[in-house]
Every structure is written in structure tokens, then in C-alpha cells.
């Protein structure tokens, strides 16, 4: 019996060992061995893009995926992030009165060739005109195919600004403005003002596939779409005939990983080359092969009230809540003290920042007093929508919501946290105004301070639903409009100070924090990726 068993055991043990060694053969460094790996970048991103066209969205996820990868703009920002430099337009000219802006286009710009479209010509004026015409002309078939939704352009009232776009010749385009506007170039350099192919649009129109222009992208950018599995991954390959510096990588993969724990795990297990919005920075710092990038970005994380819905149609209630929330605790817990306390929506680095406006102090007594004044001594119940993804301005809305829940319980307000929607659906419901209050934020598209005021809080963006507070104040709108008419910064600053004090008094939203954007990557990945405004850019990324 003993003999038999030892044989049986020995064979079992031997099989086990054989199996283990077989597995560990390629177990060791299962990824490093792959030759494909050296030429590919796997970027683990945090959310599902709403589409492939930044014109039609404002969400950072979509901008990250599309703007700098698939498309180009006429002009763009330099590395210093304040100077505007040429892109598709090799030069431009603004008349003295500021009403005519002329762009001279490059002649060597090719569009993507993919398995769904083969271009026959290079970029010319028609493409530029088409790209903006679809936004401005509400009868344009491509305006209709997008459901008339161009949130960025509508929030900056692009339609009111532009009289017409004139075709001077094949490579010269002129924008005729209704009035001078100090932000026109900044807007055209923003991530949203990309140039599409008119030829592609015409081809699609023949087959009545209008919506494909926003879902099967054709652009001029450094990468083109190879394949996409909804909610799972996006694969890009370099655009062989790109007009600028061609990318040295062979594949750029967006591995969509909404869970931040999973994203970090994948980085630590070497499955991702780069991850967006890393958690547990200490852990990443400990690893010699990983590095953490940070970029100060122009953003604001806020708690917004739906001012159309009671009890938040009453500004006293809104102010009471501002007093009841312990912002310091939020900064420490949610941002790990790596963000600055926001007293207004404008960050300190902007010239429009005003230090005289202070954040409401944390005081439960004051909050209770204001609530009593508004007739809510007994408190009330409210829904708080917490964004389901991480953004730089709010890395963990769930925890933030929990903290606010605990704070408000002290003034007898019961908070129901709503967070189960997928990101694009979440934004859709917000635009319909289904929420009572929401934890959200905004990343500036360009350095002009107007980009904080107009898209976030103007009446125009209240109509499109982009102003999540649905707060509309005529005086405030007037101030913003006046500030745009002049180019003198000292004068504009006075206007914006006025606007900020209206906000401090009305409190349609409570500014919480201005934060940095983080990303973590393997050290073998080289090149700048993060931009201060909006999205990321893989053009200069390489791997050695």
C-alpha cells in the first residue's frame, strides 16, 4: 500500500511541477517577450467616449481620445500654452477692427485613408468651410445628423459671433465677424474646432450615412482609427502621410478601464504603458520602473445646484449649503491635499483671478441660521448626483459625495447619492435637468477666462443644458458680453471681478477645488502627453 501511494503521490507531484514549469515558461515576463509590445503604446483610459468628434461633445474622455490624435485645428497652442501657433493654417491675419480673420492653409495636408474611406484630394478651403458650416447652419444635413448639438460652440455663442465664412481661394479662408471678439482665436485653437473632410461627408451623404461622420472618423491627425469595440478598446495606427512629425509607434491602444483600482493594477502588472488619473500615488512612487506625471491645469471642481428646482431655486438655501460643507476635509480626503481650495471658479494662475472674493467659511451655525431664514429648520431631502468617472477636477466624486452627505446630515439635510449611470448617460440626464444637485467640474479649453464663465454659467449654455445649474442672470450675461468686446486686459479684469461678485452672492454653484491632472506611466515611455488645456496628445510619444 505504501509503495503504491508514494508512486501515486510522486506522479501527482511530478505532474504538478511539469504543469507549473510549463506555465512559468512564458509566465515570466509574459508581455516583455512580445515583439509587438515594443512598438505599441497601451493607454488605459478612464471612460467610454461619446463619439469620435469633439465638435459634438464637451466631455474630457472624448476630447482625450479624439482631438489631438485624429484631427488638427487651423491653429493651436504652443508648448508654453499661451502663444497661438500655426497648424493647418500656416499663417493668419486679423484686421485692425478685429472683425475679419483670414487663414492661409497648408497645401500638403492629407486625410486618413482607412478601410471605409479613401481620400482623393488634400485639404482645402472647402473642408474648413464645411467643418464650421455644419455648426452654424441649422439647415445643414450634418447639423441635423448631430441633433443640432455642438455644446462648446453654442455655449460660446459662436453663431452670433460669425457672420459668414468666405472662400477666398482654394487655400485661403476668411471668417467675417459680427463684432470684435477677444476670444475668437482662442476658440479656434481649442480642442473642439477641428477640421473634417468635406469629401468624406459628401460620400457619406450619397448613402445617407450622415451620422457616420461622428462615429467613423476621418481627419488629418497623426493617428487614424483601426478598430473600436464599444466600451472595451480603441485601436489607432499612425497616419502614414501625416503632414507633421510622424509618430514612431505602430499601434496606439486605448484600453478602456473605468475602474481606477483595475487601472492601477494593470499598470503595476505592466499591462498598461500609461494610465490616466492614477490613484495611490505613493505606490507608484515606490516602483523604480514607473513615473508620475502632473500638469497644473485650468479647471474647477464644483457642487452645482439645479436652480430651477426647489429648494435650490432659493439662493439662501444654496448659501446655507456652502457654509455647511467642510471644504478643507474634502481637499484632504478626496484630493489628498494636492489641489487648491477654490474660492471662485477662476484659478489663481489666471489673470482674471480676484483675491478679494473669499470662500464662505465653514460654519454649521451660519448654515442653520440661513436654512431657518429660508424656512427649512427641519431640513429636507435632496438628490446629489456624483459623476461616475475620475476627472482632474474631481478624482473621486463618490467619496466627495459621502463627505458632503455626512456634512449636510449635521444640518438635517438628508442626501441621496446618485451615481449608477454610465458617464455619457449621466451627462445626457444632466443636460435634461433631471438632477437636483451635482458634483461636476470643468476643464478650460483655452487660457481665456471667458472659457470659465460663458460655458459654465451663461444663459446660452443653460439652454443647451451645458450650464448644469440652469441659472440665467441677465446682468451677469451682459457683463460677460461687454468683457468680450475689448482687448485691454485691465479693463476686462474689472468686468470679470463684477461677474465673480455676482456669483459669490448668487451661489449657483459652490467652487470646491482647482486641481492638477495626473497620469502614471512606465519610464520607458517618452514624450509629453498632458496638455494644460483639455486633452492629451500622443504625437510625440515613443518607447525605447
Amino acid at each position: 500500500m505504501g509503495v503504491f501511494l508514494s508512486i501515486q503521490e510522486q506522479t501527482t507531484v511530478r505532474t504538478l511541477f511539469a504543469l507549473l514549469s510549463f506555465l512559468s515558461l512564458y509566465g515570466c515576463g509574459y508581455d516583455e517577450n512580445i515583439s509587438l509590445n515594443n512598438k505599441s503604446i497601451v493607454y488605459c483610459s478612464e471612460g467610454v467616449p461619446e463619439g469620435f468628434n469633439p465638435q459634438t461633445v464637451t466631455s474630457g474622455v472624448t476630447i482625450d481620445v479624439t482631438s489631438n490624435q485624429l484631427y488638427n485645428r487651423l491653429i493651436t497652442y504652443d508648448k508654453d500654452e499661451t502663444t497661438i501657433i500655426p497648424a493647418l493654417a500656416k499663417s493668419w491675419h486679423v484686421t485692425k477692427d478685429g472683425k475679419k480673420v483670414t487663414f492661409y492653409l497648408r497645401r500638403d495636408v492629407n486625410f486618413h485613408q482607412t478601410n471605409y474611406f479613401t481620400p482623393t484630394r488634400t485639404l482645402n478651403s472647402d473642408d474648413v468651410i464645411f467643418s464650421f458650416e455644419r455648426i452654424l447652419n441649422s439647415e445643414h444635413p450634418y447639423y441635423i445628423s448631430a441633433g443640432g448639438k455642438f455644446p462648446f460652440f453654442q455655449s460660446v455663442e459662436f453663431g452670433k459671433l460669425i457672420n459668414n465664412i468666405e472662400r477666398i481661394n482654394d487655400y485661403t479662408v476668411r471668417f467675417n465677424l459680427n463684432q470684435a471678439d477677444s476670444t475668437i482665436l482662442a476658440n479656434l485653437a481649442s480642442d473642439f474646432a477641428i477640421i473634417l473632410s468635406k469629401e468624406y461627408a459628401d460620400t457619406l451623404a450619397q448613402y445617407n450615412f450622415h451620422t457616420n461622420i461622428d462615429s467613423s472618423p476621418i481627419g488629418t491627425g497623426p493617428f487614424k482609427l483601426k478598430s473600436y469595440r464599444a466600451g472595451s478598446y480603441i485601436k489607432y495606427v499612425p497616419h502614414e502621410s501625416y503632414w507633421g512629425n510622424k509618430s514612431t509607434i505602430e499601434q496606439l491602444i486605448f484600453d478602456i478601464t473605468p475602474n481606477s483600482y483595475t487601472r492601477l493594477t494593470k499598470l503595476l502588472a505592466k499591462e498598461c504603458d500609461i494610465i490616466s488619473y492614477p490613484i495611490a500615488h505613493e505606490k507608484i512612487d515606490q516602483r523604480p520602473d514607473l513615473t508620475l506625471d502632473e500638469k497644473t491645469s485650468f479647471n474647477i471642481g464644483y457642487l452645482g445646484f439645479n436652480t430651477q428646482k426647489p429648494p435650490f431655486n432659493n439662493k439662501v438655501v444654496r448659501k446655507a449649503i456652502a457654509h455647511a460643507i467642510n471644504k478643507q476635509a474634502i481637499l484632504e480626503t478626496v484630493y489628498f491635499s494636492q489641489a487648491e481650495n477654490a474660492s471662485t471658479i477662476i484659478p489663481k494662475t489666471s489673470w482674471a483671478y480676484d483675491s478679494t472674493i473669499q470662500t464662505p467659511e465653514y460654519s454649521i451655525e451660519q448654515a442653520k441660521k440661513l436654512l431657518a431664514q429660508a424656512g427649512f429648520e427641519g431640513g429636507f431631502e435632496m438628490d446629489l448626483w456624483a459623476m461616475p468617472v475620475q476627472r482632474p477636477y474631481n478624482p473621486d466624486a463618490r467619496t466627495m459625495a459621502k463627505l458632503i452627505q455626512a456634512d449636510l446630515a449635521k444640518v438635517n439635510i438628508k442626501v441621496n447619492i446618485i451615481r449608477d449611470y454610465e458617464w455619457s448617460k449621466f451627462l445626457g440626464l444632466l443636460a435634461e435637468g433631471r438632477h437636483q444637485s451635482v458634483l461636476l467640474g470643468w476643464s478650460a479649453d483655452h487660457p481665456d477666462p471667458d472659457n470659465f464663465f460663458t460655458p459654465l454659467l451663461s444663459c446660452a449654455s443653460a439652454l443647451t443644458g451645458n450650464n448644469r445649474t440652469f441659472w440665467c442672470n441677465g446682468e451677469f450675461d451682459n457683463i460677460l458680453a461687454n468683457a468680450l468686446l475689448i482687448n485691454d486686459i485691465a479693463q476686462r479684469k474689472r468686468y470679470y471681478k463684477e461677474a465673480l461678485s455676482i456669483l459669490a452672492d448668487e451661489m449657483p454653484l459652490i467652487p470646491i477645488a482647482h486641481s492638477k491632472r495626473y497620469q502614471a506611466r512606465k519610464k520607458i515611455v517618452k514624450g509629453e502627453i498632458l496638455n494644460a488645456f483639455g486633452g492629451i496628445d500622443f504625437t510625440n510619444v515613443s518607447k525605447n
Binding site: 481606477s260 483600482y261 492601477l264 503595476l268 490613484i279 495611490a280 505613493e282 505606490k283 476635509a329 484632504e332 480626503t333 473621486d396 463618490r398 467619496t399 459621502k402 463627505l403 452627505q405 455626512a406 447619492i417 449608477d420
Partner: protein, 297 residues
């Protein structure tokens, strides 16, 4: 104070008592039973004996490691979580949620299952065959999947999860009651009382239940270990207990983002679940072992 024995009496312990004599012979099982009792006491008294409230935030002590760690603090024995809540208090509280509720859930489904099972044992024919097949189908669907579907109907939340688990557990109790009752009914002593003119209900109550109760209890311990795991799993998936409840599965899910910098927020709730399930399984194991021994003797 034992009763003085005047006569040499032969004792006939009840089946349950007999089971206990067999049960307490295995030391490992007794340890398990001790842990089980400990958990029950904890579940009942947790709200009174916890050092802190389970939802109180200590914002100056965020992610504090357990006290034996060099950065630990004795006033927070098992450390704190990301919102500065005391882990020990939360774990103790979790005992009444995860473990205590699983106990109640099993009791409810046991009661319902026994009633339906007894009734179905007394019916015959097509209805009974249909029920049998129906139970087989229900039993073939994974319990968690069924619970998930019920949660999808009722919406996430701890109380909905509990109802879902009650419903999921009922079929097995029906099944076992039905088979056990049928088996007992075919025995001679039942025939004897039937000849005496006893009604079916009376037979069930006086003759059959005392004889099948251990089988039910043994099944109940199995069901409870499954219930603990199901409550914790649903909590982990975010479908069960909602924040800020300190249900163990939900606690673990909450800690997962801090796994790499504060691993105790994941290790401890996991260990707690493992401890509770092992204790329950040991009790069940001991019970089955004792049952078998009694049969053999």
C-alpha cells in the same frame, strides 16, 4: 445541582441531545462552535460595545494602519479607512449586518421552506411532479444569478438583497423537507399512529418533525454559509448594502481603491468573512458528522 439518582435509570436522551453528545466529541468542531457563538454575541451586542460609531469620520486619522504597525495608533486597534472610520468598530458592526442578517435570512427561508415542503409532501400526482421539476430548474440556476435578477427587479439595497437571498434559499429547504417527510411517512411508526386515527398534521407535528429537525438544521448551516457569502458578494458588487453601511463585502469594495497603499482595508473584511464562513461550516460539518455517528451507533 444534579438530581439525586435513587434508581439506576437508563437515560434516553432526545435525538437532539444525542446529537449534541456526539457533536461535542470533536475538539475542532467545538472551537468552530465557540467562534459561532462569539459571532452571534457580537452580532447582537455590536452597537453597544464598539469603541466608536461605525460611520464617524476621524479626519485627522485617515488610512491609519493597524496598531501593531509602526505608524499605528493604539486608539484605533485595527486602523482606519479612507474616511478615517475605525476599522474595528466597522468590522464589529459588520458582524451584525453580514453574519447576523444571514442568520435571520436562513430562519425565514427555513420556516417558509418547511411549510411549503410539508404541504407538497402530502400532495401527489401532477402537481407534485410539476413542483419537483420546477424546483430542479430553480436549483439549477446559480443562486447568485437568481439573487442578482431579484435585486434587478427590486433595485439595489441591503433589504432587497436579503429578500432575494431568502427567496433563493427557499427551494433547497422545500426540497429537503419534502424528501425527508416522504421518507418518514413511509416508515412503520407513522403507519401505526395513522392507524390510531391521527391526522396528517398531527403526525407531522408529533412524529415527523422531531425526527427530521437535525437534517434541517444541518441544511440550515450549509445555507447560512452560502448566505454569508452571497450577502458579502452582493455587497462587494455594489448591489447589496449601500455606503456607508459596514457590511463586510461592501467594506471590502470600499477599501479596494486603497488596496495598494492601505492593504488592511481589504485584508481585514476578507478575513472576517472567511472567519464567519469557516465557523459556520465547522458547526455544520460537526453536525453532519454527529448525525452520521448516531446513525451508525
Amino acid at each position: 445541582m444534579g438530581r439525586e439518582k435513587t434508581y439506576q435509570e437508563e437515560e434516553f436522551p432526545t435525538p437532539l441531545l444525542q446529537l449534541w453528545y456526539n457533536f461535542k466529541q470533536t475538539p475542532v468542531v467545538m472551537i468552530g462552535f465557540g467562534c459561532y457563538l462569539f459571532l452571534i454575541i457580537l452580532a447582537i451586542f455590536a452597537p453597544i460595545i464598539t469603541p466608536y460609531s461605525s460611520i464617524e469620520n476621524h479626519l485627522d486619522h485617515l488610512l491609519l494602519p493597524p496598531s501593531w504597525h509602526e505608524n499605528g495608533d493604539v486608539s484605533f486597534l485595527l486602523g482606519t479607512d479612507n474616511l478615517g472610520r475605525d476599522m474595528l468598530s466597522r468590522l464589529m458592526h459588520g458582524a451584525s449586518l453580514t453574519f447576523g442578517l444571514s442568520f435571520i435570512v436562513v430562519l425565514i427561508s427555513l420556516a417558509i421552506g418547511v411549510i411549503i415542503g410539508s404541504i407538497s409532501a402530502l400532495t401527489k400526482g401532477v402537481k407534485s411532479s410539476f413542483l419537483n421539476h420546477f424546483l430542479d430548474v430553480i436549483l439549477s440556476i446559480p443562486s447568485l444569478l437568481l439573487a442578482i435578477v431579484i435585486v434587478a427587479i427590486l433595485g439595489p439595497g441591503l433589504s432587497n438583497t436579503l429578500w432575494a437571498i431568502v427567496m433563493v434559499l427557499i427551494p433547497q429547504f422545500i426540497h429537503i423537507t419534502r424528501n425527508a417527510v416522504k421518507e418518514e411517512f413511509s416508515k412503520d411508526y407513522v403507519l401505526a399512529s395513522r392507524l390510531d386515527g391521527a391526522s396528517s398534521i398531527r403526525i407531522l407535528h408529533y412524529s415527523i418533525f422531531p425526527n427530521i429537525i437535525e437534517k434541517l438544521i444541518s441544511q440550515a448551516t450549509l445555507a447560512q454559509s452560502a448566505a454569508i457569502l452571497d450577502i458579502a458578494t452582493l455587497g462587494f458588487l455594489g448591489l447589496g448594502a449601500q455606503i456607508p453601511m459596514s457590511e463586510w463585502g461592501a467594506m471590502l469594495a470600499n477599501g479596494i481603491e486603497y488596496f495598494y497603499i492601505a492593504p488592511w482595508t481589504v485584508y481585514l473584511p476578507g478575513l472576517a468573512i472567511l472567519f464567519a464562513v469557516v465557523a459556520t461550516n465547522l458547526v455544520g460539518e460537526g453536525m453532519r458528522h454527529a448525525l452520521k455517528q448516531r446513525k451508525e451507533s
